[in-house]
Amino acid sequence: MSISSTFHKWGSPRWFYQFSGKLLPWLAGLSLLLLVGGVIWGLAFVPADYKQGNSFRIIYIHVPASAVAMGAYMTMAIAGAIHLIWRMKLAAMVMKAIAPIGASLTFLALLTGAVWGKPTWGTWWVWDARITSVLILFFLYLGIIALHQAFENRDAAAKACAVLAIVGAVNIPIIYWSVEWWYSLHQPASISFTGQSTIHPTMLRPLMATLSGMYLFFTWVLLLFVRVEILDRERNTRWVQDQICGESR
């Protein structure tokens, strides 16, 4: 199969709807297993930290929420670029669907960060580079949602959102390296892709479980949102009417 025919298949909402339908139960099962299992593992079976005691256990939600919030933004910006360059409708739907999910994950990251900050740092909030840039990420997501709703015309909305998403992508490396570039209260990353991670393996394993679980959970919810969008946009087509009637019969 050539690249271009694969591309066209992926661009077909009907094909995507049917293909994603097969993935849903696997994504749901695996993500909940990893998230619930990883959280129980991290809360009940991992030893407490030598300095922070039990407070550190919120890492099993905080790090996955933060990482996926950033990964979701990059996915949204790439979908925006694909939509702008190839005018692929499915990419616009993906972009629109990611914004509320990403906003929720960013909010969760900020909330768990505040809850973690109080017992360890001694404050809920501080305007350091890491926390402020994540707050900007939250506002970018809200901005995309608001911008989308400000347009009557769907294509104009998608184009404007795509540009905003691409411009805002500059914030992602800033978030990631903020703790290296500037003096901050937030500590640098514990998980290293190139060197030795500074989190003990017994604590790292459940974190890997909740981290991958959160990525799968995001994919699952994203597919659900995109499928609703596909049904809404194609509601007058024959295949959607067959699909809905076929399912309710």
Partner: protein, 155 residues
């Protein structure tokens, strides 16, 4: 795969947007470096880069053996170091649980004319290391035995 010229142009426009916003953000971050940094390290304070009498933050590591607590009040004095310079901090109030000698700290307050930093808030800054207490104990023990062995060797 040859790209349609119109799509190629759109791709170039997007790359251009990315480069320009990246450049703008980079310049902004560099120009506002002083403001984005949460605190001044002791070296900057010693070099006179931090203003006196103005609300600022100082950050670094609490020097081992430097914490002095008043017996009749909540006043604490300690030395913050970045291993090239030090600044003495005075603070009245409750310190966070993770405050300890050899640990990171960020204090907000004012630098007095006498060179002492009068803090109104002290936050603990912990590092990115997480491990079980047994592992930390074992690491300390092995470091201690290594030090003892080195001492033996030097005798």
């Amino acid at each position: 795969m040859a790209m349609h010229p119109q799509r190629k142009q759109r791709l170039l426009i997007i790359l251009f947007i990315l480069v320009v916003t990246g450049l703008a953000a980079g310049l902004l971050g560099y120009a506002l470096k002083e403001n984005i940094n949460l605190f001044y390290p002791p070296a900057d304070i010693a070099a006179g880069k931090a203003p006196t009498g103005k609300s600022i933050r100082a950050g670094g590591m609490v020097q081992e053996g430097s914490v002095q607590r008043a017996s009749d009040s909540l006043v604490t004095r300690f030395v913050v170091t970045d291993f090239s310079a030090t600044v003495t901090v005075e603070y009245e109030g409750i310190l966070p649980d993770l405050f300890a000698e050899g640990e990171g700290v960020v204090a907000s307050g004012k630098l007095g004319e006498d060179g002492i930093f009068y803090a109104t808030e002290v936050l603990a800054k912990h590092d990115e290391t997480y491990m079980p207490p047994e592992v930390s104990d074992a690491l300390e023990k092995s470091a201690a035995s290594r030090a003892a062995q080195q001492e033996k060797g030097s005798l």
